[in-house]
């Protein structure tokens, strides 16, 4: 079996610089979770459908299981760990708690990142726009009812 090629990459995650040597085939989500130990972003599928690994890459919402770590070289990445400041939840996080928009909490980090991207684009999304904004994120617990309410409340 051929030797696996490796490459050194530099990323900015939530304002912190990291330089690491990674296998060229390492998925960005595994790099974030296993190499940087930022375990807030999760993995729920093998196929890019569930959105639990959603992060912002240079401001764009991406599923971090659908790209390689080496493709993120030089990028600015935002993950769920960067949303609160000094332990204070931001408005969206607080709204998720207030509206019981999470049960097991497994989809929540990805859901919050999708909602963050949505609210940056659109300050006051309507219900359909919210549902479109999170259609790439699967939640098996809530039926989305309270997630939609929380995002609506955060926008207000």
């Amino acid at each position: 079996m051929e030797a696996v090629s490796r490459k050194t990459i530099t990323v900015d995650v939530n304002g912190e610089q990291y330089e690491r040597e990674v296998d060229a085939r390492r998925l960005l989500i595994h790099f974030i979770r296993d190499d940087l130990d930022l375990t807030g972003s999760h993995i729920g599928c093998d196929t890019g459908n569930c959105g639990a690994c959603s992060v912002l890459l240079d401001g764009t919402l991406v599923k971090s299981c659908m790209m390689l770590a080496v493709q993120a070289d030089g990028a600015k990445i935002e993950t769920v760990e960067g949303l609160a400041s000094e332990g204070e939840l931001n408005g969206l996080q607080q709204a998720f708690s207030d509206h019981h928009a999470l049960q097991c909490g497994y989809c929540t980090p990805g859901m919050l990142m999708s909602a963050t991207a949505l609210l940056r684009e659109n300050k006051s999304p309507g219900e359909d726009e919210i549902r479109k904004g999170i259609q790439g994120n699967i939640c098996r617990c809530t039926g989305y009812v309270n997630i939609v309410e929380a995002i609506k409340a955060a926008a207000e």
């Binding site: 999760h42 949303l83 708690s97 999170i134 790439g136 699967i138 939640c139 098996r140 989305y144 009812v145």
Partner: protein
């Protein structure tokens, strides 16, 4: 899409605008949320250990084959591979897991890896451990397995013929069979004015597919011979009962640890084969091993919900629409290994007559193996399939006899004044008001303007239908029902544990035995403790998750079967009550007064009527734990109370298969309105409502969240979630690409309402309610039937999952399903 919550017009407990005193019944902020919204939860896959190896299973590409040879040598040559495990090794190092069934099922040999033969696509034949996930996967591809393909059987009815037998030791594909016969069905048949017969109904395979896949990190301590399993098993008490004998060790050698779990829904109850393989690997390789299931592996080879075929359904009906019961032959297809499943042969009997006053029921039940993925409990477990049957009976009978399905339900429902109601098989429905819940749900969905909606839909070329799903969510098992399955089994009753202590600085610390997966146990436990101890939920520290080492668990500990509000909180209440008593005793000793004179308020122990004489909790904790010289010698307090809650059950009468099988019955009545495009079969749910009655609600927001979630899962199962196989036994829906679960845009608008019928049998008057009984599946099927059929004509909705193409088929060939039903009128 708005959500409306209605409060009951005739409240049983809560008056509108009334605020319940104390914390129980309030939607206080969830304690779990702060860590989870910051990505600071700890799920098993977040746990790492120095030099741990990653496990990858080598899986069968065949539905049924002999394993001729397994060669791991090439995999072991790969740099970074730590070791392997094969079925042959497993057969030497461990014993088969115990089987729940009587013979033939009892003779099945089920190991941690396939031994000698594979029985479904995805059956694990070997495991590889390597330095990285990627390497483990590479190495797994280098394992050479030679198979000798065997003919396979994928259909339950076909499998009963035993032309192809999966388990040679059992000699038959039948796992268990039994006849349940209550009342006098033959007399009911003779007494009927109409007899409606339904030749076939089929409840399809699906699963709740928790977003977090299964897995574990296993450490083996050579010095003590003990394994620590950081995992997401949702029933570790029973997991350990399975694993310890197989590993040939005492149960104390297995320590289960979990903090946060990303959903379970029953699918994480049968992880013992994979966990046992990981235990063997951790010991063999003397290193921690980590296994994270791939999504595709979960779908192909972990757990599906059970699939059930109902044959020869016979329903005696009186002229006025009163049904006298039913008879049915049920074939339950449990896939390649029965594992937990034989219990499903009995568990449906908790809800034998559904919501109805049916006194004569005969069920001929058989469970059978096929070359498909094993199944396991799945939200609504076994009762959901049976309740779907009762609801199909109501709608089909009403349709065939020209009766109104709403009035037929009301006529046959158990009446409010009949509770507690004993069913024909001795189960006791504790409380409820089904007719009132039905009225509420009809109100929510605007039933008064039904004809207007129908005309409007028809004017747009659509078929309009409305349907009801009436279900019971039975909770808090009497495990004595397992003895109906197998009298040799030594299981009965139920239990759960909680420990509440007051520590040195006045901290109140609660340790649960349960294994929460999103149900908010930390929050609701804190509510109960705060109410009893006279403090606030913020003052109560509930340990997150489960750890065998906390010594706060018992044989049935876990989170399953709709029971936390009863068993978990029952244990919490018991422990908090006893701790309160001890705190009063201690304060009385300090004050030189009687414990009866002490009250616990505002985080203090005070002499009643004299708020000046007060000891803050901190003082109590410090005195007992660190400053106890001079306390009376006979003062017997620990301020650390472990309480085992045990519901009062009797063992069932095995001869008659009669007894109380579960403690509580929550009600969910759903209504669905939908429109079908007759040109394509595409349909849209245009209105949806759910009314829930789970007795006293500890935390209304959490209850409502469970209703939403159970509904979403049921709607997915009703409309598109299905595990289907090709003729070679390959699963066609092995991941979220092919197996479509509801997304935010798929969910219809949902209205909810509730009543609270206090349970007379539980510590807090609450009932478990998380499973929901699959009401959404029943409601969608009923609505489709209503849209498609007219009296004596049109197709019959005979399957639980009706994707658009299935509806199109029903529309194209109504005669194919119409012939499934016949009516004999006398």
């Amino acid at each position: 899409m708005t959500e409306t919550t209605v409060t009951p017009e005739r409240p049983l407990v809560v008056e509108e605008g009334d605020v319940k005193p104390g914390f129980i019944g309030q939607s206080v902020p969830r304690k779990e949320d702060k860590r989870l919204v910051q990505g600071e939860g700890v799920f098993f896959d977040d746990v790492k250990r120095h030099e741990m190896g990653y496990v990858h299973f080598v899986r069968s590409p065949y539905a049924h084959a002999r394993i001729k040879s397994v060669d791991v040598s090439k995999a072991l040559e790969l740099d970074g591979v730590y070791g392997t495990l094969t079925g042959d090794e497993v057969a030497i190092l461990s014993d088969p897991f115990f089987e729940l069934s009587t013979p033939p099922g009892a003779n099945i040999k089920d190991y941690a890896l396939a031994v000698g033969r594979v029985r479904h696509v995805g059956d694990p034949v070997a495991a590889v451990v390597a330095r990285t996930r990627e390497l483990a996967r590479d190495a797994a591809e280098l394992v050479e397995v030679e198979y000798g393909p065997l003919p396979h059987v994928l259909d339950g009815e076909e499998s009963l013929k035993d032309e192809i037998v999966l388990h040679e030791d059992a000699g038959s594909n039948t796992v268990w069979s039994g006849v349940f016969d209550w009342g006098d069905f033959d007399a009911a048949l003779a007494d009927a004015d109409h007899v409606v017969r339904i030749e076939r109904l089929h409840f399809d395979r699906f699963s709740s597919t928790p977003l977090e896949c299964s897995g574990c990190l296993v450490e083996f301590n050579r010095g003590t011979g003990q394994w620590t399993i950081h995992g997401n098993h949702q029933m570790p008490g029973v997991g350990a009962i399975w694993m310890a004998p197989a590993l040939r060790v005492g149960i104390d050698k297995l320590r289960f640890v979990s903090q946060d779990i990303g959903g379970g829904f029953g699918n994480k109850i049968t992880l013992h084969p994979q966990y046992t393989a990981c235990c063997l690997l951790a010991r063999k390789l003397n290193r921690p091993v980590q296994w994270t299931e791939w999504r595709t592996d979960q779908h192909t080879a972990n757990t599906h919900g059970n699939e059930r075929t109902f044959l020869d359904v016979t329903v005696p009906v009186k002229a006025d629409g009163t049904m006298l019961g039913f008879a049915v032959r049920a074939i339950d297809d449990c896939g390649a290994f029965p594992r937990y499943e034989p219990l499903g042969c009995i568990i449906w009997a908790q809800v034998t007559p559904g919501c109805y006053r049916w006194r004569n029921v005969r069920v001929d039940f058989t469970q059978v193996c096929t070359n498909k993925s094993p199944v396991a409990p799945n939200r609504g477990y076994s009762r959901m399939q049976h309740l779907w049957l009762t609801e199909r009976i109501i709608d089909i009978v009403a349709g065939e006899l020209g009766l109104d399905p709403i009035e037929t339900r009301k006529k046959n429902y158990v009446k409010h004044e009949e509770f507690p109601y004993e069913t024909p098989n001795g189960c006791v429905y504790d409380s409820g008001d089904y007719a009132r819940c039905l009225d509420m749900v009809l109100d929510l969905i605007g039933y008064d303007s039904l004809e207007e909606k129908r005309r409007d839909a028809e004017s747009r070329g659509k078929l309009f239908g409305i349907g009801i799903g009436s279900t019971l969510d039975s909770g808090t098992n009497n495990f004595g029902q397992s003895m109906i399955l197998n009298p040799e089994l030594q299981f009965s009753g139920n239990n759960e544990v909680a420990t509440v202590k007051l520590d040195i600085f006045g901290e109140i610390v609660v340790t649960l035995g349960t294994v929460p997966q999103g149900q908010g146990h930390e929050t609701t436990s804190a509510q109960v403790v705060a109410e009893i101890l006279g403090c606030t939920p913020d003052d109560v520290n509930v340990r997150a998750g489960h750890d065998t080492y906390w010594n706060s668990n018992a044989g049935f500990s876990g989170t399953y079967a709709s029971q936390f509000a009863v068993t978990g909180l029952g244990a919490v209440k018991g422990a908090a009550d006893k701790l309160a008593g001890e705190m009063k005793q201690l304060a009385a000793a300090v004050f030189g007064s009687s414990p009866d004179d002490i009250e616990l308020v505002e985080s203090q122990a005070r002499i009643k009527g004299n708020p000046e004489a007060a000891l803050p909790f901190m003082a109590l904790g410090a005195i007992l734990n660190a400053n106890n010289a001079g306390l009376p010698p006979d003062l017997d307090v620990t301020l650390n109370v472990r309480y085992v809650y045990r519901p009062l059950f009797e063992k069932p009468d095995l001869e008659r298969k009669f007894g109380n099988l579960t403690l509580t019955y929550a009600t969910q009545i759903h209504a669905c309105a939908l429109e079908i495009d007759p040109e394509t079969g595409v349909y849209e749910i245009v209105d949806y409502a759910a009314v829930d009655d789970c007795g006293n609600r500890i935390h209304p927001q959490i209850v409502e969240g469970q209703v939403h979630g159970a509904t979403a899962q049921a709607l997915g199962a009703a409309t598109h979630e299905i595990f289907t196989y090709d003729e070679d036994g390959n699963l066609l829906t092995p991941n979220f690409y092919d197996y479509h679960v509801p997304h935010a845009l798929d969910m219809p608008p949902m209205k909810t309402g509730f009543i609270e019928s206090e349970s007379p049998f539980t510590p807090l008057g609450a009932k478990g309610m998380g499973e929901g009984g699959g009401a959404g599946i029943h409601a969608v099927c009923a609505a489709l039937q209503n849209a498609l059929g007219r009296r004596g004509e049109g197709p019959i909705v005979w399957r639980s999952c009706n994707p658009y193409e299935g509806v199109w088929d029903l529309l194209q060939k109504p005669e194919d399903t119409r012939k499934l039903v016949s009516v004999e009128t006398r």
